[in-house]
């Protein structure tokens, strides 16, 4: 179909401009009808694609008794690490932490996190042989004399080294957190992973126990009969109860999933804790028997019993947690992961459209990018609703939110300029921030309880969100700078008009970056004054934010004074990427100061690599080729004559 020979129809043109999501690559005439039709087709296709891919996992589970009902199992609400969450989240976050992946390969077949968790909890002797422990630190590999053929090791393989690992980790613990070296951090991490794993093994019952349900029932009956008739108590019984008590205490210590719902004044408790109270006369909660029965049935491959038990358990009042169930679904749909390929697709389509100057493809590209943003937005909003907090409470949240803010800004630019550049910026930033978020999620559950210091929704909303939007705008400006270098110096396809246009885009975005980062930083100061009594303490994170403010001010003043022209401003915007990345991650790597709650490791090389790549772009941008035009200050600037 050749669009360019069709005559344009004025009424449909109007329709098109109000349909607003469409993009104009260049001003050759085209009909609104065809573009709208293409747009519609593309959109329908995309929706169909997304729905199938996202809900594919949903419909995978037949409701028969041929397999355990994983969906239902994943919905079981438990208290873990200070938060009520579905068992599915426990499985995923533990597995990501230990294994660095969401699934493990067992005998050539891929096993998902929840199945792995069930194996660990119910059949630990089998699960011990799965190679899940990710050890990539060369010093630890050397210490344990592990071969190099694999990066992952099974618990059984680690057993001979447990004492060594524990001793080494203990030694490393005595060094202050920010003074530990890479090896020390890695050994502590490994030790923590092993502890986490052992705790999962003992989550329901002692790992060696075969039939905990029967044992627990017997204990409860014994106590009941003794309460009814205290005279029956014999010395043998006393010693028996003492042994049981020790066992339960041990179990409580070794596990950290709270399966037993609150009873009266008691909070959510571990099965071991609860059973210890049962020995003191507390009536046993049915959840213990149900979980123990599930464990036994799982050992025997009796899926029917599991499904009945799970259904029964989910029907109890304590399990009626809509947020927990919704979270299980949120995990399965993995919107924030699924948005990544859509961004990538949007990028490819937009690039192809720009290359061939095909208008309908450009519209399709925009639609795909919008779909990616919609997925991103939905994921962000859903996550917010689950945690009941503003979106940024940790680094993970900041990555998702920075990407989101940047894509929205880029799309506003796209709306204004309709030249595809907004699409590219949106895809680049959306995709990379979600990748970063994914890597950050490897450190465990991304919805964490908020520490007392940060527990103020008002400031989390104002200060944190505004500062984060400042980061977003810096990245939008920076990525436009990158596109500028590619087009002007490498491809040399920038004409005079687009040159000036890009200059205006970046200038405008930097103004917003200035506004957001300044206001956000000062609000942070006010929060600090409210809760710690000082407005400004030269804390690394504060300094990082200040660097961004100063850099924005420098860019704007340099532009106004004529020290730099459009190209110089682009170079400064690219350097802004480095400064923002330092402010976002670099200061956390230093591990000092009040804001170091988001401490992270191992990403340092990535940060350095990123900064070097940006410097290379700046160097390329300084080549004296490309548009050489007499540059004037844009009339948008608030010139202060000099």
């Amino acid at each position: 179909m050749n669009n360019s020979i069709r005559p344009s129809r004025p009424q449909s043109t109007r329709y098109q401009s109000s349909a607003s999501s469409s993009a104009t690559l260049h001003s050759h005439p085209c009909t609104g009808f065809t573009s709208a039709a293409h747009c519609l087709i593309a959109f329908c296709l995309l929706i169909a694609l997304m729905t199938t891919s996202i809900f594919a996992q949903e419909s995978k589970q037949p409701a028969t008794n041929a397999t355990p009902d994983w969906n239902a199992l994943g919905q079981i609400a438990v208290m873990h690490a200070g938060r009520l969450k579905p068992l599915d989240t426990v499985a995923r976050s533990s597995m990501l932490m230990i294994c660095g992946k969401q699934s493990v390969k067992v005998e050539g077949k891929s096993m998902h996190a929840l199945e792995w968790l069930m194996q660990v909890m119910c059949k630990p002797e089998v699960a011990d042989n799965y190679r899940v422990f990710l050890i990539h630190d060369p010093d630890i590999q050397a210490l344990l004399q592990l071969g190099e053929e694999d990066k992952r090791w099974s618990f059984t393989e680690l057993i001979p080294h447990l004492q060594l690992i524990s001793a080494q980790a203990n030694e490393a613990q005595s060094v202050q957190a920010h003074q530990r070296n890479r090896y020390q951090r890695a050994i502590i991490e490994l030790y923590n992973h092993i502890t986490t794993y052992v705790r999962l093994k003992n989550a329901i019952a002692p790992e060696q126990s075969k039939d905990f349900a029967r044992q627990a029932q017997e204990a409860a009956n014994l106590v009941k009969s003794l309460i009814a008739d205290p005279d029956k108590l014999t010395d043998d019984m006393v010693s028996h109860i003492n042994i049981l008590k020790k066992g339960y205490e041990n179990l409580a210590q070794k596990s950290n999933i709270h399966f037993v719902p609150p009873i009266g004044e008691l909070e959510w408790s571990r099965i071991g804790e609860h059973m210890r109270l049962v020995l003191l006369g507390l009536p046993m909660d049915d959840s213990v028997i149900r979980m123990a029965t599930i464990r036994k049935a799982y050992r025997e491959g009796d899926w029917q019993t599991i499904n009945t038990m799970v259904a029964e358990h989910l029907a109890t009042p304590a399990q009626q947690q809509s947020k927990v169930r919704s979270e299980a679904m949120f995990n399965r749909m993995a919107l924030l992961v699924n948005a990544m390929p859509i961004y990538a697709l949007g990028l490819v389509v937009t690039l192809v459209a720009m290359m061939f100057k095909t208008r309908w493809m450009m519209i399709t590209g925009t639609v795909i990018v919008l779909a990616a943003i919609a997925t991103h937005t939905f994921g962000l909003g859903w996550r917010m609703w689950i945690e009941g907090r503003p979106p940024v409470i940790n680094l993970y949240g900041s990555a998702v939110f920075i990407g989101w803010g940047a894509t929205i800004m880029a799309m506003v630019l796209e709306k204004i300029y309709k030249n595809g550049l907004g699409n590219i910026a949106a895809c680049l930033i959306g995709f990379s921030t979600l990748i970063i978020a994914h890597h950050l999620s490897l450190s465990g559950d991304t919805i964490e309880p908020v520490r007392a210091v940060l527990d103020s929704n008002f400031w989390l909303t104002t200060h944190v969100l505004i500062v984060t939007l400042g980061y977003s705008s810096m990245f939008v400006a920076g990525s436009l700078g990158l596109i500028f270098v590619v087009r002007d110096v490498i491809l040399r396809n920038l004409n005079k008009q687009s040159y000036a246009r890009m200059g205006r885009m970046v200038y405008g975005i930097i103004c917003f970056a200035m506004l957001f980062s300044f206001v956000g930083t000062v609000l942070g100061g006010i929060w600090a004054d409210q809760s710690w009594g000082r407005f400004w303490g030269w804390d690394p994170k504060e300094n990082g934010a200040l660097l961004i403010v100063l850099w924005n001010a420098a860019i704007l003043h340099a532009r106004w004074s004529g020290m730099v022209q459009i190209r110089g401003m682009m170079m400064m915007a690219i350097l802004g990427n480095c400064i923002t990345a330092f402010s976002w991650f670099g200061v956390n790597m230093m591990g000092v100061g009040l804001h170091s709650y988001g401490f992270m490791d191992g990403a340092f090389m990535w940060l350095i690599g990123f900064c070097i790549s940006q410097l290379i772009f700046v160097a390329i941008g300084l080549f004296p080729v490309g548009q050489q035009m007499p540059e004037k200050l844009p009339n948008t600037s608030g010139t202060q004559s000099s």
């Binding site: 401009s17 001003s27 208290m79 873990h80 690490a81 200070g82 938060r83 950290n256 959510w268 204004i416 309880p449 520490r451 007392a452 527990d455 103020s456 400031w459 205006r504 405008g508 103004c511 200035m514 506004l515 300044f518 206001v519 000062v522 609000l523 100061g525 006010i526 929060w527 004054d529 409210q530 809760s531 710690w532 009594g533 000082r534 407005f535 400004w536 030269w538 804390d539 300094n543 990082g544 200040l546 660097l547 100063l550 850099w551 001010a553 420098a554 003043h557 340099a558 004074s561 020290m563 400064i579 200061v587 230093m590 000092v592 100061g593 948008t636 608030g638 202060q640 004559s641 000099s642």
Partner: protein, 387 residues
């Protein structure tokens, strides 16, 4: 004259100062990996030049310090307003913005110069009418003849306080208001302390303590244990040598002219017109973790002059403001039995708030006005092309 001012108003200077400021902030941030914040702050931001030290100890200035940059920035801004600035409504946003920034800089300077930080550490049920300095000490001589004073805050004791800065080795402290004269034999800003026979002091608890001078520590969490050997002279008679240390919990006592005086080297105290009593300290953690969910102190405030007697709660993000000071929940100790409140007196605390409002208004005015103008123009262009 105007020419010179104009030279000084150049935007190029602004850009250079901003970039120098970034380098300074960057260096000052990296420095915090190997020195405490307080130290880095002094070297980089509360200084005129930042030196680096060579192996042989020679200092080479490498960066202008925070004060220098601040001054240049203010001058640059003022010169611009005196010469090149166009006083139109359109430029009001810029004016607002810059006056806000000026206020921030001044506020920071005032805070550096005049704010006082101290803390109150209260055990369960304890009552205090003073806060203590984190780092400063004082030598006090207390007339204890009015013994009830500790229990009844309305009664007063006479306390003679000598700031630690006066305790210089070889110094003789005499004042007609003091009941005694003090000859400082040796002052140690920090020392390692152990129990054991010490022959040097002839009086007091210090005879049983061995001190070894140590280099002062600079950490934010660590405290120096200052020690001093003093001779006390009353009525022209040398009463002996005392060893005093901020590490000693209890004072030494001397009798002069039938009156008993306590003598003590302790953290500098800031008196408050009211008393605070810790009723309860609450520390909640998230189930199954050590992550603090909330901590708060329930206090009773008694101010006999203002006739106030009430209970209140200080928690994270919820300080108490009283007597020109602000009391924040800072920390806790002693198995959740002790609360530690930080006390800040900052006369310039309000400036950043005004500055924030000014700058936000100015920036929004400026940028939004430009954005709208630009947007309108663009839409107009767009419609023209279509028409």
């Amino acid at each position: 004259m105007k020419k010179i001012l104009k030279k000084f108003a150049s935007l190029r200077i602004t850009v250079v100062v901003l970039i120098a400021g970034m380098m300074l902030v960057f260096a000052g941030t990296l420095a915090q990996t190997h020195m405490p914040i307080r130290e880095a702050q002094k070297i980089y931001f509360q200084s005129f030049v930042v030196p680096i030290y060579l192996q042989n100890g020679t200092a080479i200035p490498v960066l202008p310090g925070g004060y220098t940059l601040g001054i240049i920035m203010v001058l640059n801004l003022l010169c611009a307003y005196l010469t090149t600035f166009k006083w139109t409504t359109k430029r009001m946003g810029v004016l607002l913005m810059h006056s806000g920034i000026l206020m921030l800089l001044i506020g920071q300077l005032f805070t550096d110069l005049y704010s006082v930080e101290s803390y109150v550490s209260l055990d369960h049920g304890q009552v205090k009418n003073y806060s203590e300095s984190f780092h400063k000490n004082e030598l006090v001589i207390i007339d204890t003849s009015n013994k009830d004073a500790n229990d009844n805050p309305k009664d007063t004791q006479t306390v003679y306080s000598i700031p630690a800065s006066k305790l210089v080795t070889g110094n003789m402290i005499t004042d007609p208001r003091l009941p005694v004269s003090i000859s400082v034999k040796e002052f140690m800003p920090n020392a390692n302390i152990a129990m054991g026979e010490n022959p040097r002091p002839t009086q007091g608890f210090g005879q049983r303590v061995i001190v070894q001078p140590a280099p002062p520590v600079k950490g934010d969490q660590q405290r120096n244990l200052a020690c001093v050997y003093v001779d006390i002279i009353a009525n022209g008679k040398n009463l002996g040598t005392w060893l005093l240390s901020s590490a000693f919990v209890n004072p030494d006592f001397i009798e002069i002219n039938g009156r008993e005086y306590a003598i003590h080297l302790r953290a500098k105290r800031y008196m408050m017109p009211m008393t605070l009593k810790l009723q309860e300290f609450k520390h909640e953690r998230f189930t199954g973790t050590n992550v603090p969910m909330a901590f708060s102190s329930r206090l009773r405030l008694v101010d006999p002059i203002q006739h106030e007697d009430r209970e209140l709660t200080i928690s994270m993000n919820q300080p108490l403001r009283y007597d020109g000071k602000t009391f924040y929940q800072a920390s806790f100790a002693n198995d959740d039995q002790t609360t530690i409140l930080q006390v800040v007196r900052n006369p310039a605390a309000v400036l950043p708030y005004i500055a924030c409002i000014l700058v936000t208004l100015g920036m929004s005015w400026h940028f939004i006005a430009h954005f709208l103008k630009f947007f309108n123009k663009f839409v107009k262009q767009d419609t023209e092309v279509k028409a």
